[in-house]
């Protein structure tokens, strides 16, 4: 029944069903209350949303739209112009009228975003401070990412080892690589025999 009552309140019932519903409402207090609550909700919504909206000054809307109509008119494809020649002519005319199609287009692209971002600003932060704070935050993030990367880079110097000594036999050699501040000494055993200091030129 509730769905029927919604349709009744919305004026969406066929005449015959509406008459039956009205007859039912006379006898049913529960349904009368349901209808009353729906109508009350509608009244609240209209009072609080529609009336304040009517009070808003929309006189600046058309001038703002008119200023951008030139760029809007050049979208020949979206306009579905059937006649190619006429479309091209209108395109040229619109471009001549607007004179700044690119700029207007760019404005249209970014129009909604900045305000949404700006409203993320906490109330205690003054508007003039938003820019510097955002720049500082970006710098901090950049440093936080860049510094660890820089510290993990491989120093080419660490790939160079100094041969401290070479002990060779016929079938094997033992080479002592000197340690560095970042690496311990290394004893390198190789099956290449007969190595000498001359095999490791500086």
């Amino acid at each position: 029944m509730s769905n029927t009552l919604d349709r009744y309140v919305d004026g969406e019932l066929p005449v015959a069903v509406r008459a039956r519903t009205e007859a039912h409402l006379v006898a049913c207090a529960g349904c009368r209350d349901y209808v009353a609550r729906l109508e009350e909700l509608r009244g609240l919504l209209r009072l609080e949303l529609l009336e304040p909206a009517r009070a808003v000054d929309l006189s600046g809307l058309w001038p703002a739209i008119e200023a951008r109509l030139g760029s809007a008119a050049v979208d020949a494809e979206a306009a579905g112009m059937a006649d190619g020649a006429a479309g091209a002519a209108r395109l040229a005319e619109a471009e001549a009228r607007s004179g700044s199609i690119g700029r207007s287009g760019a404005h249209a692209e970014v129009l909604l975003f900045p305000r949404a971002v700006a409203r993320l600003r906490p109330a205690f932060v003054p508007t003039w401070l938003v820019g510097p704070l955002a720049a500082a935050a970006a710098a901090v993030v950049l440093l936080a990412v860049a510094l660890p990367i820089a510290s993990f880079r491989v120093d080419p110097v660490d790939r160079v080892a100094t041969v401290a000594s070479v002990e060779s036999g016929e079938s094997a050699s033992v080479v002592l690589l000197a340690g560095t501040p970042s690496q311990p000494p290394v004893i390198w055993v190789t099956d290449a025999g007969g190595l000498t200091d001359e095999d490791f030129p500086l």
């Binding site: 509730s2 919604d6 969406e12 609550r37 009350e40 949303l49 009517r54 809307l61 112009m81």
Partner: protein, 187 residues
Amino acid sequence: MTQVPGGPSPADEELVAQARNGDAAAFRILVERYQGRAYSIACGVVGHREDALEIVQEAFLKAFRMLGGFRGESSFYTWFYRILVNLAIDFRRKVRPVLLEAPDRLGDARASNPVEEVHRGELRAAITAAIAALPPEQQAVVVLREIEGLSYAEIAEVEQVPIGTVMSRLFYARRKLQAALARYRGA
């Protein structure tokens, strides 16, 4: 487009045909004819006046660009409302967490005393919050039905869904709004 002062208002279809041929004056009449209702719808969905104004502006510009694609199979306003509602819903999905306009920014010239003003501000904030808590599709249906008074068939056309879906969305949206606003009954 020349309009005779005091003469009958041209029909939407006539204005659309003229605007399609680049007649800005004809399009201006359409804008001024629907700007108030468009603003109510956008405001109801996004919950913020300045955002609503920008969305209305974008919707009219988009409509102007797409006039050539308007076949006249539906009325101009349902076709235009579809553009508007889609823009508003998209916007709402993107910025939902920061939508609610602070009650003190809304003002209320109708309140006759400070106590009433506070009460009305609280009530309006509650309504705005209750609407904002709805899924965007339910929100649009509520605004189109309760604020604009569109029929189920017209809403179905705007939202491109079956009438049954409109009824279902409206039914659940109303239940949620009634639950959220129960303490203001009789206000």
